[in-house]
């Protein structure tokens, strides 16, 4: 538990690092905003239309695959730690487990999910 208190200290310091830097800027730097200065940057042109539109995310099925494999990695870590002591049977079981996900990857590949459209 004491170790995670240490992690908490790092979290605090990391936030302070940025906040102190921004505080210094707030104290030291000039502040003269003009409407032109606050325009959205687009190489000298005025931006046309809203930016926050419905955006075509061509990779949302990638994201589903990512979730599947990410969950798998959570299972793999404890197994990898105990790999030598668990023995051959556990290794074969894990091969079958990874094999099932590889099958899913192959299916997704075949169905053209891994193409950027």
């Amino acid at each position: 538990m004491a170790q995670f208190a240490g992690v908490g200290i790092f979290l605090l310091f990391a936030l302070l690092f940025g906040l102190v830097a921004m505080l210094m800027v707030r104290i030291l730097s000039p502040k003269k905003p003009t409407p032109e200065k606050l325009l959205t940057y687009e190489c000298g042109l005025d931006t046309v239309g809203p930016t926050w539109v419905r955006f075509r995310t061509s990779y949302f099925i990638y994201a589903l695959l990512f979730v599947a494999f990410d969950v798998e990695s959570v299972f793999l870590y404890p197994w990898a730690v105990e790999f030598t002591s668990l023995g051959l049977v556990a290794f074969i079981e894990m091969v079958i487990f990874i094999g099932l996900l590889l099958l899913a990857l192959w299916y997704a590949w075949k169905e053209g999910v891994l193409e950027w459209i």
């Binding site: 690092f17 940025g18 940057y41 990410d70 891994l114």
Partner: protein
């Protein structure tokens, strides 16, 4: 020799004794020592940020047969300091169209995991700020938050370039996180520990780059992509997206992103050193020096890569990750397991 090797540890013991002499209990002293360590590491991160940029520019100059920064201070050594001072004096701009909260929070969300990863880096024998027993799991978990920060920066800026950069960064970083995590699995299978110090100690006879060469190659590729460095710098892509995610950021906010970038670069190089290059192990020189030499070697390699390879297209990036690196990293797990039963 022993004195030099244990120099930093003895200093730490000295400070701890000093704290204890003021009547602190053992646990409180340990906690205070973590505060001291965090403060020192923040100083080092600031230094790495400044001189990472200096090294990047100097090495770029070297590769392009020009001088690089050479005006401010001897060999231009103070150039980054001057740039840093300039950035503090810059006006803090937030575009009128931007989402105030998301835009402001994004640099912190990127910087915080970059700093937190440093907590578990084993700089030398017994020199770790927080010696977590689940070290590498912590590194992987914490560093994945960066993706969120980049997406926040891209979305919050209300700029089309930023949005494209942010969307690309999510696609790229989630695709390469899996090979990155899997490539480390072989080493964990051999050592049977998630603790970074244990992993270094297990490499006393042979560095893991020898049995785990496939894992190392996959790790380096995936790490380059996670760092958004060339040839995977599509998030920034200055020739197509101006500065991608960072387009609307200027002054200190922008500098926070870059501090995070170089903190991450150092951390990833340190992880590569720890997992594959024997960490602080080495003859003659003190261990912490070995650690820094190897880490700087990895950093140089990443910078070398930048001036050697052209940028990929986004579909090539994703194909490379899903169709090559992911099967390779899984094959590495199989090879490690089979090798263990055939050879050992």
């Amino acid at each position: 020799m022993e004195t030099i090797n244990n120099l930093l540890i003895n200093i730490a013991h000295g400070i701890r004794g000093f704290i204890l002499s003021y009547g602190a209990t053992g646990d409180a002293a340990d906690l205070l020592m973590t505060v001291v360590a965090a403060a020192i590491l923040l100083g080092i991160i600031g230094f790495v940020g400044l001189y990472g940029i200096y090294a990047e520019r100097k090495i770029a100059g070297f590769f392009q047969e020009r001088y690089g920064p050479n005006r401010v201070g001897p060999y231009g050594l103070l150039q980054s300091v001057a740039d840093g001072l300039k950035l503090i004096g810059k006006e803090d701009l937030r575009p009128a169209g931007a989402d105030p909260w998301v835009f402001t929070a994004a640099p912190y969300v990127v910087l915080t995991p970059a700093v937190m990863v440093w907590a578990v880096l084993p700089f030398s024998k017994n020199i770790v700020a927080v010696d977590l027993n689940i070290g590498i799991l912590y590194v992987v978990a914490v560093s994945s938050v960066t993706t969120l920060g980049l997406l926040m920066a891209g979305w919050g800026s209300n700029n089309k370039y930023s949005l494209l950069g942010g969307m690309r960064s999510v696609a790229q970083m989630i695709s390469y996180e899996i090979p990155l995590v899997f490539s480390l699995m072989g080493v964990i299978m051999i050592t049977g520990s998630l603790n970074l110090s244990d992993i270094v100690a297990a490499q006393e006879r042979v560095w893991f780059i020898v049995p785990q060469i496939l894992g190392f190659l996959v790790f380096v590729c995936a790490a380059t992509a996670e760092l958004n460095r060339v040839p995977f710098d599509l998030t920034e892509g200055e020739s197509e997206l101006t500065a991608g995610t960072y387009t609307e950021y200027s002054g200190m906010r922008w500098a926070l992103f870059f501090a995070a970038e170089y903190a991450n670069l150092f951390a990833v190089s340190a992880i590569a050193t720890t997992f594959f290059l024997g960490g602080w192990q080495g003859p003659l020189l003190p261990p912490y020096l070995w650690f820094f030499i190897k880490t700087c070697g990895m950093i140089f390699f990443f910078m070398w890569l930048r001036w050697t390879l052209p940028r990929f297209r986004i579909d090539q990036v994703l194909n490379f990750g899903w169709k090559l690196l992911l099967p390779l990293s899984i094959a590495n797990i199989f090879i490690t397991g089979i090798g263990h039963y055939l050879l050992g």
